[in-house]
């Protein structure tokens, strides 16, 4: 699909000027409204910066600024610390449509068409007549090159207005400045801010600073020091390949024999598999691929389905992983709980893809509003055409009532303090159109999105249940700590009688040992506090266990731990009736989001007599 528009473009170029083409396809290129034009300009620049940094294994530091020059005129500045662009290429990259480095790669990357950034230059030039200014530097001891340029719209060539060598106190990087017509909107779902926030979420390794027209500076902090692995290129996988594709591949191949064609042009087909396929398809291994008839191609396709072929290599994809998504979401959304899930890679029509999802619940999210949905494809947020997207369809087809949310009729977007997030990574994301804003409803993808979301949903449900239990517990505590003593006091006063001892009633209402754990994060530490109170009539001796992330370092535990083992701490406690104890400790070596809920377990005690902890069934000796 990516090359479709490229080819189309190239063809049209001969007949019409690029300016005309641009005018006609504004909507496809994302410049159809003033507010969207700003979003698109920022997006094209940021996508390129992230791509370039990824290729060069650099942790991205990106600065975006938007200044208002007149009513509908804005200056957009985008700067990165990427590898920079070599001098000769700078004019072409920014001043020539269709100039890019990844036309024919089968790889997961943000940019695909070689139109993005020159489109921005074109748009600004057409709407304000102002040239673009570019500054780029490829090494600490190399000069920085500055260009002012416009696009010659007749020839689709850069026209350089100024070319200079300047000093720039930056190791490497690229900076772009354009002035374009636009409209700045804030805090809308479709806005520069929202785009950057979502981008920061899905790229936790990037640090992004954004200066709004009114001078407000928003910093999206880096939450991971790991540059995502660079995805590698692969060949099409036979599974789900379409007839047309196979026939075209057979025409174009340089192989002379069917078997070598299969081995050479497809991924995961070795000599043995090729032989197996040929015999299943009743085709001669020595058949010239160019002579493959339609019927034969069909048989070949069927044989693909009948033979066991390994899934495509997954290193061509770069999923974020559950931990990173969780960190990304936690830093941008103030929720109580974040559950994430990364599905194993899968294939549609020979294209490997992989789905990741997240669900954030509670906290400061609005309770009475329709759930928010954040969509990503190859780590790029999708802001427009939500209704057409496979992710939306998957979310809406799930009965979220079963996971503890409100949802009218069990379909559509549920209502509640919840945000859904899904990321589809693929060497070829099947967009519904060239504007790359919605992913087509491909059954395989939809299925994977659903599975990922359901898994997150199950964890959210467990969280909701747990919170409800905690709520009940809190209510009970309130009864015994505040209300009941007041009832006793007032009743005695009305009747002018002595206040009775209510501790036996408290024991009757609670009749258990109460365990209440809390945690909060500050300055690199999670501080954990656990209150334990014996509200029974008898003395209790039992073991209390606390689960912790295996990488955490436990410090300052009070009382002292009795034992500590991989991921588990233990205390032996003895509490008389009405006794209570406050346990505290801190966990170091953790980042925000690495620890969820305080999970306590107990043993050697009647489960009926414990509130706030589960019974420990595992081994601990």
């Amino acid at each position: 699909m990516a090359s479709t528009i490229a080819e189309e473009l190239a063809e049209k170029q001969r007949e019409i000027s690029v300016a005309e083409f641009f005018e006609r396809n504004r909507h496809i290129l994302g410049f159809d409204t003033l507010s969207r034009a700003l979003v698109t300009s920022v997006k094209e620049a940021v996508d390129n910066s992230l791509d370039a940094c990824e290729e060069a294994s650099i942790l991205p530091d990106i600065n975006i600024g938007i200044d208002r020059i007149s009513k509908n005129e804005y200056r957009i500045t985008a700067e990165d610390n990427g590898p920079g662009i070599v001098k000769e290429q700078i004019p072409k990259v920014f001043g020539q449509l269709l100039y890019g480095s990844r036309f024919h790669t089968v790889r997961q990357s943000r940019g695909q068409q070689g139109i993005g950034i020159s489109g921005v230059v074109m748009y600004s030039q057409l709407t304000t007549g102002r040239p673009a200014r570019i500054l780029s530097k490829i090494g600490p001891d190399r000069p920085a090159h500055l260009y002012d340029l416009i696009i010659d719209t007749k020839k689709n060539r850069p026209e350089i207005l100024r070319e200079e060598i300047v000093s720039w106190d930056k190791g490497t990087g690229t900076r772009l400045e354009v002035v374009a017509m636009g409209k700045y909107v804030r805090e809308k779902r479709q806005s520069v801010l929202e785009y950057l926030r979502s981008t920061a979420m899905i790229n936790p390794h990037a640090q992004i600073e954004f200066r709004e027209p009114d001078g407000t500076v928003i910093t999206f902090k880096r939450a991971s020091d790991r540059v995502p692995q660079l995805p590698i290129e692969i060949k099409p996988h036979p599974e789900g390949c379409e007839l047309g594709t196979v026939m075209k591949m057979a025409k174009d191949t340089e192989s002379y024999r069917l078997s070598s064609f299969l081995v050479g042009e497809f991924s995961r087909i070795g000599n043995r598999t090729a032989r197996e396929i040929c015999s299943k398809a009743l085709l001669d291994e020595d058949l010239r691929p160019q002579d493959l008839s339609r019927g034969q191609a069909k048989r070949l396709l069927q044989a693909f389905g009948g033979v066991k072929i390994m899934a495509p290599p997954m290193d061509c994809l770069s999923p974020m992983g559950e931990v990173l998504i969780k960190r990304g979401v936690k830093k941008e959304i103030a929720a109580d709980m974040v559950a994430t899930s990364t599905r194993p890679p899968s294939v549609y029509s020979g294209n490997p893809f992989q789905v990741e999802a997240g669900v954030a619940y509670g906290g400061e999210l609005p309770k009475e509003q329709t759930a928010k949905l954040i969509r990503f494809a190859n780590r790029v947020p999708l802001l427009y055409q939500q209704g057409d997207c496979v992710i939306t369809k998957a979310v809406e087809s799930i009965d979220w009532r079963r996971y503890g949310l409100e949802q009218r009729g069990g379909e559509g977007l549920p209502v509640g303090p919840v945000v859904f997030l899904a990321h589809v990574a693929s060497t070829n994301v099947p967009y519904t159109s060239e504007s790359k804003e919605a992913i087509a409803d491909v059954p395989e993808i939809r299925n994977e999105v659903e599975l990922a979301l359901r898994e997150c949903g199950r964890r959210m449900q467990a969280h909701i249940k747990k919170s409800e239990r905690l709520q009940k517990l809190k209510e009970k505590e309130e009864i015994i700590r505040k209300i009941l003593p007041l009832i006793a006091e007032k009743t005695s006063k009305v009747l002018d009688k002595p206040i009775p001892d209510i501790s036996p009633i408290i024991a009757k209402i609670m009749d258990s040992v109460l365990i209440d754990g809390k945690s909060d994060y500050a300055d690199g530490f999670y501080r954990v506090k656990i209150g334990v109170t014996n509200y029974t009539l008898h003395s209790k001796t039992f073991g209390l266990y606390l689960r912790f992330p295996s990488t955490a370092l436990i410090e300052d535990a009070s009382p002292q731990l009795d034992e500590s083992k991989a991921g588990l701490i233990a205390w032996k406690l003895r509490l008389g009736p009405n006794d209570s104890i406050a346990i505290s400790l801190r966990m170091g070596n953790l980042e925000l989001g690495d620890y969820d809920m305080v999970e306590c377990y107990v043993d050697k005690i009647d489960p009926e007599k414990v509130m706030g902890a589960e019974i420990w069934n595992g081994e601990f000796t």
Binding site: I479, I483, I487, K490, T491, V494, P500, I505
Partner: protein, 361 residues
């Protein structure tokens, strides 16, 4: 003054105290106050609470709060009675502001608790020196009452000659020690839902021409209004008809006058007038008189369906009318009769409807 109210309140406190001393989780029981627990009492011909009991126990958060508030309220009433004061329900709600955890979040809650106390103690809120703040409704017609006046002594008022256009205002306490019914020269009482219709009948001289005593209900009638109607009906022997809008909420107004309200079923006997008849607007009237209508809202439809399961509307007449209204999907106001001119209601509609009830004419 008898000590009955104080005694009965202390009884409640004593039972809570006893639970505490015996190490039982404290609780109080009271009649369940929902439509599933109202039964028809053959002797008094009104709907009262049945045998179902609800328990408010300190085991749950709601129950514990309710108990605490009950004790606070008891203490408050006791002090009031001891110092010979009285207060409005609204004042009591504001006083609860100082009750810490026990404070009410809206007046409905405190009003409801006072009703609960009535149910538990079998006393009336008047006995607890609590009164509603709003005045009762008004009366115009040839009825003479004798009312205690502020500076002491009594005064006779004729509700036709001694009052202005607004009529005689029914006081919040209409008990015999405060208000005596002297006599009435009229054939029936007509209770009206809206002020507009009340004024229309006054302006058209309906009270004189038809020898009617007009009572303005002001929407859902206050206790004193219902008590007043009941007293005129039983002491002076005047029949009662109720004339309201033609919608589900108006049917409930009639039901509370005639059968007793669900909320106050513990005192139905004392408030309800079982002989009161519903005059209109009936859903049949909407059809027969071809009245201007509005569409039923979702809430209206819900209310009608609830009424179909309300035992008070269990007779053939109401079942038929309610189903008809659901079919029509329409409702009408009583003032919609003005479609046929301002005199139509007094000259045509009311005479026709009254004679169909075997009255008037």
């Amino acid at each position: 003054m008898s000590n009955k109210p104080v005694e009965s309140l202390e009884d409640v406190a004593r039972s809570v105290y006893k639970d505490l001393v015996e190490a039982k989780i404290p609780k109080v029981n009271l009649s369940t106050r929902t439509k599933s627990n109202i039964v028809f009492d053959d002797d008094s011909r009104v709907w009262k609470y049945g045998d179902q009991l609800s328990t408010r126990s300190a085991k749950t958060s709601d129950g514990a709060y309710m108990l605490l508030r009950t004790i606070y309220t008891i203490e408050f009433i006791k002090e009031m009675l001891a110092t010979n004061k009285s207060s409005t329900l609204r004042e009591m709600y504001y006083i609860s502001e100082g009750w810490d955890f026990a404070k009410f979040h809206e007046q409905q809650e405190s009003d409801r608790l006072v009703e609960d106390l009535e149910v538990i103690t079998r006393q009336l809120r008047e006995d607890f020196k609590l009164r509603p703040e709003e005045n009762g409704a008004s009366i115009i017609g040839n009825l003479t009452v004798e009312e205690e006046v502020r500076r002491g002594g009594k005064r006779r008022i004729n509700c036709k000659d001694d009052v202005g256009d607004a009529g005689y205002t029914i006081p919040t306490n209409v008990e015999k020690d405060k208000l005596r019914l002297v006599d009435a020269d009229g054939d029936f009482i007509i209770a009206l839902e809206t002020g507009g219709m009340f004024d229309r009948l006054v302006e058209n001289g309906f009270d004189e021409s038809s020898r009617a005593i007009l009572v303005h209900l002001k929407g859902q009638p206050a206790r004193s209004t219902r008590r007043m109607i009941k007293r005129i009906n039983s002491e002076l022997g005047l029949p009662v008809v109720v004339f309201t809008d033609g919608d589900p909420w108006s049917f409930r107004i009639y039901a509370s006058v005639a059968y007793g309200a669900i909320k106050t079923a513990h005192i139905s006997e004392y408030l309800a007038t079982p002989d009161a008849r519903f005059l209109g607007i009936t859903p049949s009237d909407i059809v027969n008189y071809n009245l201007p209508t509005d569409k039923l809202t979702d809430q209206d439809v819900k209310a009608l369906n609830t009424e179909l399961t309300d035992p008070r509307f269990g007779n053939e007449f109401w079942k038929g009318e309610i189903k008809l209204q659901l079919e029509l999907g329409k409702k009408s106001e009583q003032q919609a009769l003005a479609k046929y001119g301002l005199d139509y209601v007094t000259e045509t509609y009311l005479p026709e409807k009254l004679s169909s009830l075997g009255m008037g004419g």
